[in-house]
Symmetry: C3
Subunit: 155 residues, 3 copies
């Protein structure tokens, strides 16, 4: 059992089945030692789990859960990109966080911590990443959060 697989088990995390894009793109692309992961929605058991805007239909704890679900789906695709061995990951480079937000909601960083903290729980020090967190009016299928990512692989 790889180090990261054991870490996931210790955390009680089962990665979701990587979702198949319903549009004309792919979930990840590898170039050099970088892996670019497409923007992920808060899917759980194959269904979009958390919809609506922060500051309106969605509160911060639920938004954090949405961001964490996005991150789990990112890890599912990353795992596939690594041929099932997440020990090949050198580190998380960047997360891009889009938070569906009502007009007076300004706590996007708190929401995105749901994704960022998962990366650190799973990868430790190399899970620390650059990121942005911004509020947008609306996301695909009324998702509460969308997160994309860049990872580096060991060379």
């Amino acid at each position: 059992m790889s180090v990261i697989a054991k870490k996931l088990a210790d955390l009680g995390i089962t990665l979701p089945a990587p979702a198949v894009p319903q549009a004309a793109y792919t979930p990840y692309v590898i170039t050099g030692n970088l892996v670019f992961i497409s923007g992920q929605l808060p899917m759980e058991d194959g269904k979009l789990n958390i919809t609506g805007r922060l500051g309106a239909e969605v509160d911060i704890p639920t938004g954090q859960k949405a961001a964490r679900l996005c991150a789990l789906n990112i890890l599912a695709h990353l795992n596939k990109a690594c041929g099932g061995d997440l020990d090949k990951v050198a580190g998380c480079i960047k997360l891009g966080g889009f938070v569906a937000s009502a007009a007076d909601f300004f706590s996007q960083p708190e929401v995105m911590n749901g994704a960022s903290e998962l990366m650190q729980q799973v990868f430790g020090e190399t899970g620390k990443h650059a990121r942005f967190a911004v509020g947008v009016g609306n996301l695909p299928r009324n998702a509460a959060v969308e997160v994309d990512a860049i990872f580096a692989l060991k060379s």
Copy 2:
């Protein structure tokens, strides 16, 4: 005639003249074997062609055409970055899609397919890319769509 030039001709595509930025940046930067292309608007014949928001003034087919125009302008800059030889392109790595959206519009992925499908038509399997598609309140000059991109060059 290069393979991709022939493919463009077969598709009946003439690349637009690459637009000169009207601000303090450049259309593309090459670093290592990566090409970063600036966010492109739906310009046609030197004019911003499609303005307004999806879900309000712009319907999905028109939004898809806007996304395709953004992608054509991306290819125009990429072509220049490659010294006129798109056969030097190893693949499309990532598209970032911003769709100007009314409050209840949630079909950003369908709109962005206008850009994504062009990449696959032109480059085939290596045209498949990671991407995000998000809804934003407004874009420069009231453009309906803005798309930026990362490509890899053959080494």
Copy 3:
């Protein structure tokens, strides 16, 4: 005194103290010869200086100042990433510009020039970068602008 340090002095620019993230991420990550810098807000003297939306509470000159402040904070983190020697920077690759915008504000590029022009003032020709500039409904802590960045280091 390094070339860029002298340039900063000539421009009368003192870099701010790099802010410590108040959330679960890091200000920058280096991978290969690329430096990814997290989204920066218009902080000055440790305080968020410019809040509100362009086209409403914030006018274009103030928005440009906000973008420039974001860029100064980017440089502060970049400087730290370089161990205090900005001469190690090969160039600015990309800026991502998010401008908090009222519904009828479409001049995001003009606002982002406040960041882009600083990069060219400091780095000259290698300060020219790819970028996007988009309007969003709201940003963390009601900031007027958020900018993230990618730089290349000399190898």
